[in-house]
Point group: C2
Chain length 257, copies 2
DNA sequence: CTGTGTGAATTGCTTCACAGCT
DNA sequence: AGCTGTGAAGCAATTCACACAG
C-alpha cells in the first residue's frame, strides 16, 4: 500500500478561488462601506455590515476571508482599508472602459445611468445603426456607427461591452465587440450569446425577472395561506457561467426627474 | 378578502419543490420554445433546447422533470404542449398586473420596454413624485402620484411592483406597494429592501453587474492569459447587420428608436 | 435504437461552532 | 471580554450514467 507522500509542495501564494457567488456580494459590501464611511465610521463589525447587506455575518466573514485577513479580532474591519482591498479585488483600480451598443429605449437610459460613471464605469463609447441616432451626443459622448465598433474598442482599450440592441442584432454586435478585444459583456438582449471561452458574459433579462416573480405569486395561490417559506428581506442572486442570468446589487439608479 | 379555502382536492399531485435556480431557467426555455414554434418545429429534443439555452441537456431534462413528464421517449418534447405547461407553472395563465414606481431615466425605459407587454406583463400603473411627470401619459397609461400607490394597486389587483426610484425613496414606495397588496417586487434601486416574509423581492443592480465583470477582467490579467486567440468563436461578423439567426418574432427588445 | 426520466455521485455554497488573536 | 477567521457539517444544485419507454 503505497501511501502517497502527500507533499503539497510549493504552491506559494496560491491564488484564492473566490467563489462566483462571493464576487457578487463583494460589490454590495463595497457600496455599503461607502455609506458607513460617509457616516464617519472608522470600523465596522461583520455583524453590522452583514445586517446592512442582508446576509448573515458568517457568510460575510467567509466572503472577506477569500481576500485575506483585513479585520482585527475583537474590533472589526477598518472601513477605509477594507474599501481599498475590495476595490483592488474587483479590479476597480484598473481603469475600466465601457462601450454601449444600442442607444434605443433602454440603451439611452443606461447611457445616462448615474450609477455607472459614479462608480468607476464611465461609458466611453456608444454605437447604434439608426441614422437618426448616429452622430448625436449623449453625456458628451458621440454615438458612432456599429460598423466602427471593432476599431474604436481597440483604440480606446474598451474592456467591457454592454449590448442593449434588439435580440436579432445582438450576436452580430457581440462578435464585433469580441473582435475589438472586449473581454466581458453585459447582455440585455433576450438571446444567448455565443462567445469564445475567454470572454465572460452576464445576462440581464428583465422579462425573466418578472416571470420568476410571477411564479412566486402563483405558488402562493396554490399554497394558500402561510407557507412560511419566507426568506427575510434579502434578494436572491445566483447563477454564473453559461447561459445563466443573474442579478446583483448596488448602483444608484436614476433620478425621477 | 378571505379567500375561500379552495379545497385542494386531496392534492394528488405531490408538488415537488422546484429549485429556485430551475425557475429562472424555465423562463428562458419558454422564450426559446416560442422561437422553435415560430420556426414551425413540432417537437424539440432536450439536446436542441439545451444548446439553444446555453445549458447542458441533463440539466434541462432535470429542470423539466420537476413539472412532470411531458416528453416522449425516443422523440423529444411537443413544443406547444411544453409551452403550455411552462406557462402554467410560471403563473402566466393568471393575469399579472404590474405597477412601476419611478418614471425617471430608467423607469421611462422600463415603461416602454416591449419585452414586458409582449410577454404577458403589461405595465398597468405608473407613479412618480415629480409634478412634471405626474399626469403625463406613457404608452397610454397616466402617471399617478406616489401617494396613490396603495389605493390604485389594491383597486387594479397589482401583483408585481417595479421600483425604479433613487435609493433613498425606495423603501418608502416599497412599503406603499406592500400595503397595496403587492406580493412581488423587482427592485432596481441600490438598497436592500425590508419586506414582510410573504413578499418576494428580486434585485437588479446594474453597477454590481459591471463590477462582477470588472473582476473577471482583472482576474484574467493576473492569470496572464495569452491574449488573442478566439477559440470557439462562432458567427461571422459581416459588415452589415447580420443578426439573422433563428430568432423569430418574439425577440423585440428595445427598438433603437 | 433514440432520447427521456431519474437515482446516485459530485461539486459548490452556506451555516455552524469554536479556536485563537487583541 | 469581543470578534475575526476557518475547519467541518449540512444543503442545494449540477453532472453522470443508465434503465426504460416509444
Amino acid at each position: 500500500m503505497t501511501t502517497p507522500p502527500e507533499t503539497p509542495p510549493a504552491a506559494p501564494v496560491a491564488k484564492r478561488p473566490v467563489p462566483e457567488a462571493t464576487v457578487t456580494r463583494l460589490a454590495v459590501y463595497l457600496r455599503l462601506l461607502g455609506e458607513f464611511a460617509e457616516n464617519g465610521a472608522e470600523t465596522v463589525s461583520s455583524e453590522e455590515l452583514a445586517t446592512a447587506s442582508g446576509v448573515n455575518s458568517a457568510k460575510l466573514r467567509k466572503d472577506l476571508s477569500y481576500l485575506g485577513s483585513y479585520g482585527t479580532r475583537g474590533v472589526g474591519y477598518d472601513v477605509a482599508s477594507l474599501q481599498h482591498q475590495l476595490e483592488r479585488v474587483l479590479g476597480l483600480d484598473h481603469h475600466q472602459s465601457v462601450a454601449l451598443v444600442g442607444v434605443g429605449n433602454l440603451g439611452h437610459a443606461l447611457a445616462g445611468y448615474a450609477g455607472f460613471a459614479g462608480r468607476g464605469f464611465p461609458v466611453s463609447a456608444m454605437f447604434d445603426v439608426d441614422p437618426d441616432l448616429v452622430g448625436i451626443r449623449i453625456n458628451g459622448i458621440e454615438v458612432g456607427h456599429v460598423r466602427d465598433i471593432e476599431a474604436v474598442c481597440r483604440d480606446r482599450g474598451v474592456t467591457i461591452g454592454m449590448v442593449a440592441t434588439p435580440g436579432p442584432a445582438a450576436q452580430g454586435v457581440c462578435d464585433l465587440l469580441v473582435r475589438g478585444g472586449v473581454q466581458s459583456i453585459l447582455n440585455f438582449a433576450p438571446v444567448v450569446l455565443q462567445v469564445p471561452a475567454d470572454v465572460e458574459v452576464r445576462k440581464v433579462d428583465l422579462a425573466v425577472e418578472l416571470q420568476v416573480l410571477a411564479f412566486h405569486v402563483a405558488r402562493r395561490h396554490v399554497a394558500g395561506g402561510s407557507d412560511g417559506a419566507g426568506a427575510t428581506a434579502s434578494a436572491r442572486a445566483g447563477g454564473t457561467n453559461d447561459g445563466d442570468m443573474n442579478v446583483g446589487t448596488n448602483g444608484s439608479v436614476v433620478s425621477p426627474r
